[in-house]
Subunit: 495 residues, 2 copies
């Protein structure tokens, strides 16, 4: 794929994943034992280096720091004597390092002395994102410190912190990299801004002389289709940057946060869309043929699987387990048209903690569901050509397939407890098939639906469009278009 | 699976797979570099031991010995000065160790001194199979030796050889094990006979006091269905052995020769039937419900896959590659009713050498094709109940599926060169579907076929039954029954 940097996020509220020899309490108390030893890290760095890939580690601070303060509560910004445990939920949490405490810097100085040795790359990432400053606001000692030093707000306080950290990195020969939030015009110009906010933020930094990397638009953990990532460019067509400023935009990163992945599912979350990001980053801006991207993605996906990746293979395995060893063809029809809910809404819709198994239908389902994509493409062509007959048999077969799979799933689910959360999805799949067949009936004949038909079907489709079990049907909009077309056919028909 | 011995066949005409420190030329010249280092072997032995599994190595001699004599032609029984290269074809070959040459024993004494140290198990297997003695017959020196010693035939000469080898094994504290051919009544009674010939051979040895292990009936490399292995018992119901003699039958072995497996396919050759052998060997003789075995096999197969085996996953991957990244559903229909040719006929039908890639349709196809098994079961029930209406819709759908997949495959193959060898199979699949639909038409109505219909269809089915691309349709016999039933329905109908 020619992706040449592994940005490795190693500390978080939910875990401290790197072994430290100087402060072993950090990984031992902060990781449930799930950390990389320094030997393993060296092995990964070498493995990557042999393939022309650099490894940039991230130690996220001062926020996202719960795992740090499990063993070192004295450097947190909370109440004196407050203790912390490893966070089990996803989200943004309060525990934040105390930038006014010299003990914080003592620990970090030792830590970075060790890490700048362990990781040979020139860059080191300090995170810096999503510090909401709640502990800072509530801490009188910190407030007094800010007053004394003339620090006006939390952003300035974080900058004070960053500048102290910068010294530790520079001592180890590293260039500092961090998320948008670290940006501050008077930082040294060598600092690299990593933008989750977008091209605009990146362009602003570039204008002030800072280099940057774009992640916004490339968050492959959000379950968006490859097509969406494919048309995002770190330097958009309407950029106002000069040629020199544009050079400061170093590239982009496919960002894969791992709250909801397991060894079984990680490949399906990464390799279904990452190749599109890679191609974007290595291609001229005017390479934007989405159909052709998907055509090639199909082949690339097969080749990656032959190399040992599991984005396709594991899906059938997981479906067989969900179906309790019954036939999975109906379930395959369902997952061909549903996708995991987009953005970070999974936890709200289907709460689990970090220790729960990831073996549900949402885990077996994948972004960019192929059946839905092909269906949507077919319907779009029909509508645009106003030709509902050429492909009508194909479409009827698809609808019949949905209807029958929906019925069959009701049987399968009787003996498959793990699928009970998806009962409504099975009913919906059946309804989708039925609505489609009705629409085709009207589109293929002179018959016209009664007045109430359209509103009833559209209402039904609105219900179906609502996520269930944190999964959504990706075919509803196209079906609405067919419903509308089957009413309006006379007015739009060519002859 | 409770299988508790790994019998590891380490030397063959096609390769010498174990590292020797004393005679490194053996593995270096005899293996193309594909050998297990002693460290790897120790790792495997420990891995197995931690799971309660013993490792019994086999060094096959005096036949199947080409890889030995690549580096040591002086101990072969061929013409003086003859040289040897690693064999690339499967089969039985001439190169045989010279049992009349003291150099042979010198090498083997050193070799076994090393191997009896490397492998901790009490048993060591010396093969001994399929020595056709051609080099012995043609070698005047060997003939003279036999005359001088009063050795009457090749079997006696091999026994002379075995007795000399036995001393090396005993010196290393090992009990000798070998295939049927090593059996000779005056061998020490501790020698274990490993039978590829069958229960009768094993019983004869047991009567003379020898212990034995059965492999005949459990050759899972022959592509036979699990049902066949499942009903084979090392001690058959009609055994004439006494209780004491029966105790000498130690158990059985699922034998997996590896001429035609690759890392991609090995699991599909082993784990599709091995669980049935395992259950047989750990079950009372009267546990013989085949339908129930297949029901459980389905679940076990899924569980094994969740543990990381690839017998199911890799099939779709291989089909996608064969289809040149086109849709594989038609191909999946085909592989659901075809199987690799049985026994050792693959090489004749579809010659390849050992270095060729194993990526053909035969490699993606698997024994015990599920679609065929289910179809055959359904037809058998119809015939036995003389009821062709209850399941007729299901059956029509199956036939329609075959017919349509056959047509679709013709399109797919136009852009999939690797499938061209299977063009006739696609046509045959279509014909099978058409014949089935015609038969159902007669079975479902009062219509009777014209006289020529039956003979024409049966003739067509005979053609289809012939293997192509080393693959066979497993549904032909059932379809013949349906054709016959559709003609004879009046005479056999219940009312």
């Amino acid at each position: 794929m020619k992706m040449n940097v592994l940005h490795w996020h190693l500390t978080e509220d939910q875990g401290f994943r790197v072994e430290t020899k100087k402060f072993p309490e950090l990984h031992l108390q902060g990781s449930d034992g799930n950390f990389y030893t320094q030997n393993e890290i060296r092995e990964i760095i070498n493995y990557a280096a042999n393939r022309g890939i650099r490894v940039v580690p991230e130690f996220d601070m001062p926020g996202h720091a719960t795992a740090w303060v499990v063993s070192h509560p004295e450097i947190a910004s909370g109440k004196p004597g407050e203790t912390y445990t490893i966070e089990r939920r996803p989200g943004i949490f309060d525990p934040t390092l105390d930038p006014t405490n010299e003990k914080t810097y003592k620990l970090l100085e030792g830590f970075f002395a060790e890490m700048t040795q362990l990781f040979p790359d020139k860059y080191m990432h300090i995170g810096g994102d999503e510090n909401e400053g709640k502990q800072w606001d509530a801490n009188q000692k910190i407030q007094a410190f800010m007053k004394e030093k003339g620090i006006k707000n939390n952003h300035e306080l974080q900058t004070y912190f960053n500048k102290r950290i910068l010294k530790f990195l520079q001592k180890g020969g590293k260039i500092m990299m961090g998320w948008d939030e670290i940006f501050q015009p008077d930082l040294p110009k060598e600092v690299v801004i990593h933008s989750w906010r977008g091209q605009k933020a990146l362009a602003e930094a570039a204008k002030l002389g800072f280099q940057g990397v774009l992640s916004n638009g490339f968050y492959i953990d959000l379950a968006f289709p490859a097509s969406q990532h494919y048309v995002t460019d770190p330097i958009p067509v309407d950029t106002t940057l000069t040629a020199e400023e544009q050079k400061r935009i170093l590239g982009g990163e496919a960002t894969m946060w791992s709250e909801w992945v397991s060894p079984e599912t990680i490949d399906s979350r990464v390799w279904t869309r990452a190749p599109a990001v890679a191609e974007r980053l290595w291609s001229p801006r005017d390479v934007t043929n989405i159909d052709d991207m998907y055509r090639r993605m199909e082949t690339i996906g097969n080749q990656l699987e032959e190399l040992g990746l599991t984005h396709r293979k594991n899906q059938t395995m997981m479906l067989r387990r969900l179906a309790n060893n019954q036939d999975i063809s109906a379930l395959q029809t369902l997952v061909s048209v549903i996708e995991p809910i987009k953005e970070y809404r999974r936890y709200q819709q289907r709460p689990q903690i970090m220790l729960d198994p990831l073996t549900g239908l949402i885990d077996a389902s994948q972004p960019d569901a192929k059946g839905a994509r092909e269906f949507n493409k077919m319907v779009a062509a029909m509508i645009s050509k106003n030709d509902f007959s050429t492909d009508s048999e194909k479409l009827k077969m698809i609808f019949t397939g949905w209807r029958d799979a929906g019925s069959e799933l009701e049987n399968v689910m009787q003996n498959a407890p793990a699928l009970h959360e998806a009962k409504q999805l099975a009913l919906d799949l059946k309804t989708l098939g039925e609505i489609g067949l009705e629409a085709m009936e009207f589109l293929g004949t002179d018959k016209t639906p009664v007045a109430e038909w359209r509103s009833a079907k559209l209402k039904s489709l609105d219900e179906i469009a609502k996520p269930k079990a944190a999964l959504e049907f990706m075919v509803v909009e196209s079906l609405k278009k067919l419903v509308n077309a089957s009413v309006e056919k006379r007015s739009t028909a060519k002859n």
